[in-house]
């Protein structure tokens, strides 16, 4: 059973084909990493999975439902959660407010006008729990702009987890983190393995090889290889196009 199935996906920007007949299948509860050199088309692919970019052709299926034409919020409510490569937080709100909004999104309509949301324990308790999971418990009441860069990255992940997703899309979650911080995130992700489907886009190869069940290699808008860490390491195409080119 596949959590995410992408078939024949094509996205062109003028003369540039950013996604070129891409096929990808991620099994349920798998941690699937996508790696590729800069300019391979990772951002465009993420945009299409989340719904921010509409493909020219092809289909995207989540849990056997065709979501190709769905909006960003619709996909989110269907169980997709994503973290942003460049942090996207509500500046002016506290860390806890940011996580509470993620929880609120999962508790039905927000057309509730009277009760004070900041005093609502159904929002605040799970928000604190999610912050504690990423090690931000003592920063809950800080405004976003008072957090360090690494803390903002952790908050991104706390928000993503608070959405209780079935399919998690992590866009370079470790980018800009210190070694210690990324170690914490690796531990957190491995504890999540088997409970949700995770698509991980990451440049930190140590983390990728340690965590991923399978990897796909994206080059020039196509997946050129998919397999376990061992299979990818020895794949001649990959060595040639990606690792070889890097060395």
């Amino acid at each position: 059973m596949s959590a995410l199935h992408i078939a024949g996906l094509v996205k062109r920007f003028g003369a540039l084909t950013a996604t070129d007949d891409l096929n990808l299948s991620v099994a349920e509860n798998e941690l699937h990493a996508i790696i590729g050199p800069n300019g391979a088309g990772k951002s465009t692919l993420i945009g299409q999975i989340t719904g921010e970019i509409q493909p020219n052709s092809g289909t995207i299926t989540m849990f056997h439902t065709d979501v190709t034409r769905w909006s960003v919020p619709q996909r989110s409510l269907a169980g997709l959660a994503r973290s942003f490569q460049i942090t996207q937080l509500c500046q002016g709100f506290t860390a806890e407010d940011n996580v509470a909004l993620a929880i609120q999104a999962r508790q039905g309509s927000s057309f509730r006008f009277f009760a004070d949301a900041r005093k609502d324990r159904r929002l605040r308790d799970p928000a604190r729990a999610a912050l504690a999971r990423v090690g931000l418990a003592d920063r809950a009441d800080r405004l976003v702009e008072e957090l360090s860069h690494g803390e903002k990255r952790q908050l991104e992940i706390a928000i993503t987890l608070a959405m209780t997703p079935r399919l998690i899309l992590l866009d370079e979650p470790m980018a800009g983190m210190s070694h210690d911080e990324s170690q914490k995130i690796v531990a957190l992700l491995s504890s999540l393995k088997g409970t949700a489907t995770i698509v991980l886009i990451e440049h930190d190869m140590d983390a990728v090889f340690a965590l991923a069940d399978r990897l796909s290699v994206l080059v020039s808008g196509r997946i050129i290889a998919t397999g376990t860490a061992e299979e990818i390491r020895v794949n001649p195409d990959v060595r040639d196009a990606y690792l070889g080119g890097d060395a």
């Binding site: 989110s76 942003f84 937080l89 509500c90 709100f93 927000s110 057309f111 949301a117 900041r118």
Partner: protein
């Protein structure tokens, strides 16, 4: 934060006492002008609070808020006019009863806000500003063209609405009605902004992309806020029509929208009480300058420029936040 909140509470308490006592004090000096002026302040304050909901909290820069103010006023005046003329409108005889006319004014303004909001909110940024302005101008020209209702010259109301059958002739009583309604509006808008709805509205201003990724269709929340603000402005217009016993297209002129915007920013964006303070300051400056010279705009224009350039947080922010570090 704590300290700022304490100062806010003290300011609100002082303002409440002053506003409640004002007619009594004015009466001892035998001045009805002060009561009329203060009633204007309450009504402008109400409209400014509603505009702050969408600009300050929602980040939606509407430059057409006067349209909803004017529509509310015209609804009340037209209902009274049709009743007096004995000509039914859409099969309805018209009314002079506030309990019917004022909610209808809110309904009409709310419906207009629903239609214009749904169209305008498809866009953002500069487009949104210009489109809200254009729609307001459209409503303005409709009423200029409606000669039956006086066109350019406006439409007079022979007398004030009755409230539950009782007449409201006494300016003091009308003042207290306006004060009560303003308090209700502030209370409700305050609840809205702190509720789940308010968190989504505010969050969408701060980071729309994040809110969409969380699963919020932000446009729907924005539209609801836009309609609520339009309805409150409509109520303000209904009160204004009763205060002046006259409505005219000037109520929805684009300069009026600009003035409401000045009040909000002068008072303080997203500060709930600030816009009332802004309205008070606006009326004070306007009435002082216009006594100085017929061409008071020559003085007022530069004041507005200076506010825009140098006072982004407004009076409320200046009063409550600045002392935090002291």
């Amino acid at each position: 934060m704590q300290r700022g909140e304490r100062i806010s509470q003290i300011l609100v308490a002082l303002a409440t006492i002053a506003l409640v006592a004002l007619p009594v004090v004015a009466a001892t000096f035998g001045s009805t002008y002060a009561v009329t002026l203060a009633t204007r302040l309450l009504i402008y304050g109400m409209v400014a609070v509603s505009l702050d909901l969408i600009i300050g909290y929602g980040g939606l820069i509407s430059f057409g808020h006067a349209a909803y103010f004017g529509l509310g006023g015209y609804t009340v005046a037209i209902l009274a006019f049709q009743l007096a003329e004995g000509v039914p409108i859409f099969g309805y005889d018209g009314t002079n009863e506030a309990l019917v006319a004022w909610p209808l004014a809110m309904l009409v303004s709310g419906l207009a806000a629903l239609v214009f909001g749904a169209l305008s909110l498809r866009t953002s940024g500069a487009y949104f500003i210009m489109i809200t302005l254009a729609f307001a101008q459209m409503v303005y020209y409709v009423f200029v063209a409606l000669k039956y209702y006086g066109g350019d010259d406006g439409l007079a109301m022979a007398r004030r609405n009755t409230l539950g059958g009782a007449r409201i002739v006494d300016p003091q009583i009308f003042y207290y009605i306006c004060l009560g309604l303003l308090a209700a509006v502030i209370f409700l808008v305050g609840r809205f902004t702190r509720s789940r709805f308010g968190m989504v509205l505010t969050g969408a201003r701060m980071n729309e992309r994040r809110m969409a990724a969380l699963g919020f269709s932000v446009m729907r929340y924005r539209l609801v806020a836009f309609v609520i603000a339009g309805m409150i402005a409509g109520l303000g217009g209904a009160l204004w029509a009763n205060l002046a016993r006259f409505v005219s297209p000037d109520m929805m002129a684009w300069t009026k929208s600009g003035e409401f915007m000045v009040m909000v920013i002068l008072g303080g964006l997203g500060s709930l009480f600030g816009p009332v303070l802004g309205a008070a300051a606006f009326i004070l400056v306007e009435s002082t300058l216009s006594e100085l010279t017929e061409y008071w705009q020559v003085l007022f224009g530069p004041v507005v420029v200076l506010i825009a350039l140098f006072a982004p947080r407004g009076l409320w922010g200046w009063l409550t936040v600045r002392r935090r570090g002291a």
